[in-house]
């Protein structure tokens, strides 16, 4: 499954996060295996600036 497939399945807008595997960023077409551990890091802050 690709990064974008996983995010859509989780109902996460891909543009709103970074996906990280083993300290490396993944582009949205990257394949993710069942055993992979990934971090989905939100990037939108709510600063009232």
């Amino acid at each position: 499954m690709s990064v974008v497939d996983v995010l859509r399945r989780l109902d996460i807008v891909p543009e709103s996060v970074l996906v990280i595997r083993d300290s490396t960023l993944l582009t949205r077409d990257e394949r993710i295996d069942d055993e992979d551990e990934i971090e989905v890091r939100p990037v939108l802050s709510g600063n009232a600036r």
Partner: protein
């Protein structure tokens, strides 16, 4: 995906540019985009002394990193807002970055300077925390620059920040705010001739071309240890909801945010030039900062001094708010 420059394995894709980059070329791309923005909007000169507001988050630390790499004389400014563990951790991030790069950092604390923290101020004034926080940050940032002779103030507002602000201003037709929303806020001066002095130091936003996702990716690739957690006071605020909605639109139509903002600057901003008939910008009678005098207002006091005085009065009234018993 392959890097647009070297065809190596890509780690970041930027859909609105229809491009992907390896780590090294992504860093180079961001740096050149920032350099282009500084030049295009004539933000500062190579020998200007810059003061960059740092929160310990990804945007401000990335900006500081980029300005140092571009060779600017840039000092960090961290304001301790007193928001419990969040402020402690964000301050640690700012100090750790400064030490790692041997960069200059000014640290100030609201509690030490004015006797309150942001949560206390919100409670005492019965206003949302973000309002008092923004007011104090703007005030302290300008004051620090004036006191230490910095020529330009630099903030880490990114494309998503500007787009969300623009969206909010359009939704509510805040025409005065639309007239002031620009990547460069010019210096304001009091008096003329030998009496002239700077009231507001010019303020610029070199990251307006960079999306929030890109400042996060930049920080990660550069190994910048920024504070990932959100400020606990802004949970679910309006700005965040606007960003989510706009990012949903961007997902379907990449480039929408950039067009909305830059076409506003090119085609519309000039139509909203700030005009407040019957007002005049004058020094606050208490602190000397610029404030607006309305025709009927004899002794103008700025919003910072009004807010601070209100907090002081309520603090002296004791822990429980009491009903007013006539004038004091």
């Amino acid at each position: 995906m392959k890097c647009k420059v070297c065809a190596r394995h890509a780690v970041v894709d930027i859909r609105r540019h229809n491009a992907a980059f390896c780590g090294d070329h992504f860093v180079e791309h961001i740096r050149s985009q920032v350099a282009r923005t500084i030049k295009e909007f004539k933000m500062f000169r190579p020998d200007d002394r810059l003061l960059v507001a740092v929160s310990g988050g990804k945007d401000s630390l990335a900006l500081w990193d980029i300005l140092l790499d571009l060779g600017y004389d840039v000092t960090g400014f961290y304001l301790d807002l007193g928001i419990g563990g969040y402020s402690a951790r964000s301050k640690d991030a700012a100090i750790a970055y400064a030490e790692g790069r041997a960069a200059k950092l000014l640290v100030r604390s609201l509690a030490e300077e004015h006797g309150y923290t942001v949560p206390e101020l919100a409670r005492l004034t019965a206003r949302v925390p973000c309002s008092g926080c923004g007011l104090n940050k703007r005030y302290e940032f300008n004051r620090a620059a004036l006191e230490d002779g910095f020529e330009v103030l630099v903030t880490g507002h990114n494309l998503d920040d500007e787009v969300a602000t623009l969206f909010g201003n359009v939704l509510h037709w805040n025409v005065d705010m639309l007239g002031r929303q620009a990547p460069v806020l010019e210096e304001r001066i009091f008096g003329d001739g030998e009496e002239a002095r700077t009231a507001l130091v010019p303020k610029v936003k070199p990251l307006v071309r960079i999306a929030e996702r890109e400042t996060a990716a930049y920080s990660l690739i550069r190994g910048i240890d920024y504070i990932v957690e959100e400020c606990p006071m802004v949970d679910g605020n309006t700005q965040h909801r606007y960003k989510q909605a706009l990012t949903q639109i961007e997902e379907g139509s990449p480039g929408t945010k950039q067009q909305f903002y830059f076409n506003f600057l090119r085609r519309a901003a000039g139509r909203f030039e700030a005009s407040e008939p019957g007002t005049e910008v004058v020094p606050c009678v208490r602190c000397g900062s610029p404030t607006v005098r309305w025709e009927a207002d004899g002794r103008p006091v700025c919003s910072f001094c009004k807010t601070k005085a209100l907090a002081g009065r309520r603090k002296n009234e004791g822990p429980e708010p009491r009903p007013r018993r006539g004038r004091r």
